[in-house]
C-alpha cells in the first residue's frame, strides 16, 4: 500500500469518525443529564437527513438554507421527543423509560416509512461538497474535509457552552446532583430540553453530512449508526463529551482502516464496534475517559 493510498483511507476514517462523534455526543449528553439512553437518537439523525432532503427537493431551498432549517427542525424535534416520550416518565422506574425509548424509536422509523416511503432516496450533493481535491497523489472529496472541520467547530462551541456559560454550568450541576440543582432554583426541565435540543441539533448536522458523503436515504439509515455511536459513547465513557468524540474517532478509524488493510474482513465491518466495546469494557468498564463506574442499564 502506498503512502498516498494510506492517507486517503485516513481522510475517510477521519470523516467517518467525525460523523460518529457528532452522533455520540447526543447520547452522552442525554445520559449525563438524565441517566437515560435515548434509543431514538439514531432516528433523529435519520430525520435530519430527510428534512434537509425535502427542504431542497420540495421547498427548493438552497443547500445551506436547507441545512440550517433542517438542523433547527431536528433540534426542535428532539425537544419534543423528550417532552412526549420521557418527561411524563421522569419519576418512573428506569425500565419504563427504556421501553418508552425503544417504542419511540420504532414509532419514528415506521412513521418515516409511511411518510417518506420505504424506497431509498438519492440525495443531490451540493457542488461545494462534491469537489475532488488532489494533493500530491491523494485525492479526496471536499465533503470528507468539511465534515471534520464542522465537527471540530461544533465540539469547540459545545465545550465552550458547557464550560463557560451559565446554562452550561447548570447542565453540569444537573448532571452531577439533580436535587442539589433544584435547590438552587435551577429549572431542571429547561436544562433537559436544552440538552435534548443540542444533542439533536448535532445529530441533525451529522445526518445531513452523512447524506452528503453517502448520498442515499432510507428510513432505517439511523439504526446502525445509532447503535455504533451509542457504543462509541460507552467506549469513551458515557456522560463524558470529549470521551464520546474519542470513541467516535476510534470507531471510525478502526472500522475503515481495518477494511483498508484487511479487505477480507469487510463483511464484518459492523462487528468491529462490538469487538472494540467488549475489549474496552473488559479493560476499563467506565470507558476510556469515564470516571465513576457505568451503571447497568
Amino acid at each position: 500500500m502506498t503512502l498516498a493510498l494510506f492517507l486517503q483511507h485516513l481522510a475517510n476514517a477521519l470523516s467517518l469518525g467525525s460523523l460518529y462523534a457528532l452522533i455520540a455526543i447526543g447520547y452522552t449528553m442525554v445520559y449525563g443529564i438524565l441517566r437515560l439512553i435515548n434509543f431514538a437518537h439514531g432516528d433523529v439523525f435519520m430525520l435530519g437527513a430527510y428534512l434537509a432532503f425535502y427542504s431542497v427537493a420540495t421547498f427548493m431551498l438552497p443547500w445551506w438554507g436547507a441545512l440550517l432549517l433542517a438542523v433547527l427542525l431536528t433540534a426542535a424535534f428532539g425537544v419534543g421527543l423528550e417532552w412526549v416520550a420521557y418527561r411524563p416518565l421522569r419519576d418512573s422506574p428506569r425500565i419504563s423509560v427504556m421501553i418508552s425509548a425503544i417504542g419511540a424509536s420504532f414509532l419514528i422509523e415506521n412513521v418515516a416509512i409511511v411518510l417518506f416511503g420505504g424506497r431509498p432516496k438519492g440525495v443531490t450533493v451540493p457542488d461545494v461538497m462534491n469537489v475532488k481535491l488532489t494533493l500530491g497523489g491523494v485525492s479526496i472529496m471536499s465533503v470528507s474535509l468539511v465534515i471534520p472541520i464542522i465537527t471540530f467547530v461544533a465540539l469547540a462551541v459545545l465545550l465552550w457552552v458547557v464550560q463557560r456559560t451559565r446554562v452550561g454550568m447548570a447542565m453540569r450541576a444537573v448532571s452531577t446532583d439533580l436535587d442539589a440543582a433544584r435547590l438552587q432554583a435551577i429549572d431542571v426541565n429547561r436544562i433537559v430540553s436544552f440538552t435534548f435540543g443540542t444533542g439533536s441539533l448535532l445529530a441533525g448536522v451529522g445526518g445531513i453530512m452523512w447524506s452528503y458523503k453517502y448520498p442515499q436515504l432510507n428510513p432505517l439509515m439511523g439504526v446502525m449508526p445509532g447503535l455504533k455511536c451509542f457504543i462509541a459513547a460507552v467506549i469513551g465513557g458515557i456522560g463524558n463529551i470529549p470521551g464520546a468524540v474519542l470513541g467516535g474517532f476510534l470507531l471510525g478509524g478502526i472500522e475503515l482502516l481495518t477494511i483498508a488493510f484487511l479487505p477480507t474482513l469487510t463483511g464484518y465491518r459492523d462487528a468491529f464496534a462490538f469487538v472494540l466495546l467488549i475489549v474496552v469494557l473488559l479493560v476499563k468498564p467506565s470507558g476510556l475517559l469515564g470516571g465513576a463506574a457505568v451503571e447497568k442499564v
Binding site: 433544584r182 435547590l183 438552587q184 432554583a185
Partner: protein, 243 residues
C-alpha cells in the same frame, strides 16, 4: 412565617411523617431534633418540594406552598442546605456560588451577596478557583451555606450541618448560623447534635419516628429529663459533643 400543618409523607409503604405540625416565626431560630430515621430530613425535603406530601399542608407567609416545584419554593425565599452538603464537586467554589444565584437577575445584588459570603467565609475566597470536591468537609459545609445564601433566603433550613465535622468547625458553623440569623434570616435547623442545636434555638421540636413528641423553648427542652436522657447522653461530662 413558615407553618407546617398535619404534614404526612409516605415512601411506598413506609409512613415516614405521620401528621406533624410546627411553626417557624419570622426572625427565629427553630431546631428540630431527633434520632436517625425519625423523619427530620423528610420534613425539610417536603417543605422545599423535593418530596411529595401525602397529606397536610405547608404555608409560607400565608401562601400555601405544598405541591410547588422546588425552584418556585426557593425563588420565594425558602432554601435548604441539604444533609451531606451536596456541593457540586466538579464545579469550582465560585461556580457553586454563582449557581446559588441562578434564578436571580439583579447583577449588582448578586455581586454584593457574593462579597458577603466571602466576608463570612474568607476561606472560600482563598479557594475560589478550586474544585469544590477538593475542599475539606468543613469547607464544603461553608460552601453549602454560602451557596444557599446566594439564593437570598428569608428562611434558611439546614439539615445536620455539624455532621462529621470536628468540634471546632461545628462551633464555627453554629456561630455563623447565629450571625446569619442576626441579619434577619429565619432559621430552621435540623440536628442530631441536640445540645448545640437547642442552645442556639428560640424554640425546639423533638421528632420521633414521624411524630412530634415534644416542643418548647430551646432552654426548656435542654433541661427536660427525657430529652437529656435520649439525646444528650446525660452522663457525659460538660462540654462533650453529643452525637
Amino acid at each position: 412565617m413558615l407553618k407546617v400543618d398535619e404534614l404526612s409523607v409516605h415512601y411506598g409503604g413506609i409512613h415516614a411523617l405521620q401528621g406533624i405540625s410546627l411553626e417557624v416565626p419570622d426572625g427565629a431560630i427553630v431546631s428540630l431534633i431527633g434520632a436517625n430515621g425519625a423523619g427530620k430530613s423528610t420534613t425539610l425535603r417536603t417543605i422545599v418540594g423535593l418530596v411529595k406530601a401525602s397529606g397536610g399542608a405547608v404555608s409560607w407567609n400565608g401562601d400555601r406552598i405544598t405541591g410547588l416545584a422546588t425552584k418556585d419554593v426557593v425563588a420565594r425565599g425558602v432554601c435548604l442546605v441539604p444533609e451531606g452538603r451536596h456541593v457540586f464537586p466538579n464545579l469550582t467554589v465560585d461556580e457553586n456560588l454563582i449557581l446559588g444565584a441562578y434564578s436571580r437577575k439583579d447583577r449588582p445584588g448578586i455581586a454584593a451577596d457574593r462579597d458577603k459570603v466571602f466576608a463570612l467565609f474568607p476561606r472560600l475566597q482563598e479557594r475560589m478557583r478550586q474544585k469544590a470536591g477538593t475542599l475539606s468537609g468543613g469547607e464544603q459545609q461553608m460552601l453549602a451555606v454560602g451557596r444557599a445564601l446566594m439564593t437570598r433566603p428569608r428562611l434558611l433550613m439546614m439539615d445536620e450541618p455539624s455532621l462529621g465535622l470536628a468540634p471546632l468547625v461545628v462551633k464555627m458553623i453554629f456561630d455563623i448560623v447565629k450571625t446569619i440569623n442576626a441579619e434577619g434570616v429565619t432559621v430552621l435547623l435540623v440536628e442530631q447534635n441536640a445540645k448545640a442545636a437547642l442552645e442556639i434555638a428560640d424554640f425546639g421540636y423533638v421528632l420521633e419516628t414521624g411524630r412530634i413528641t415534644l416542643s418548647g423553648p430551646g432552654k426548656q427542652l435542654l433541661a427536660d429529663e427525657g430529652v437529656r436522657k435520649a439525646y444528650l447522653g446525660d452522663v457525659k461530662p460538660v462540654g462533650a459533643v453529643a452525637r
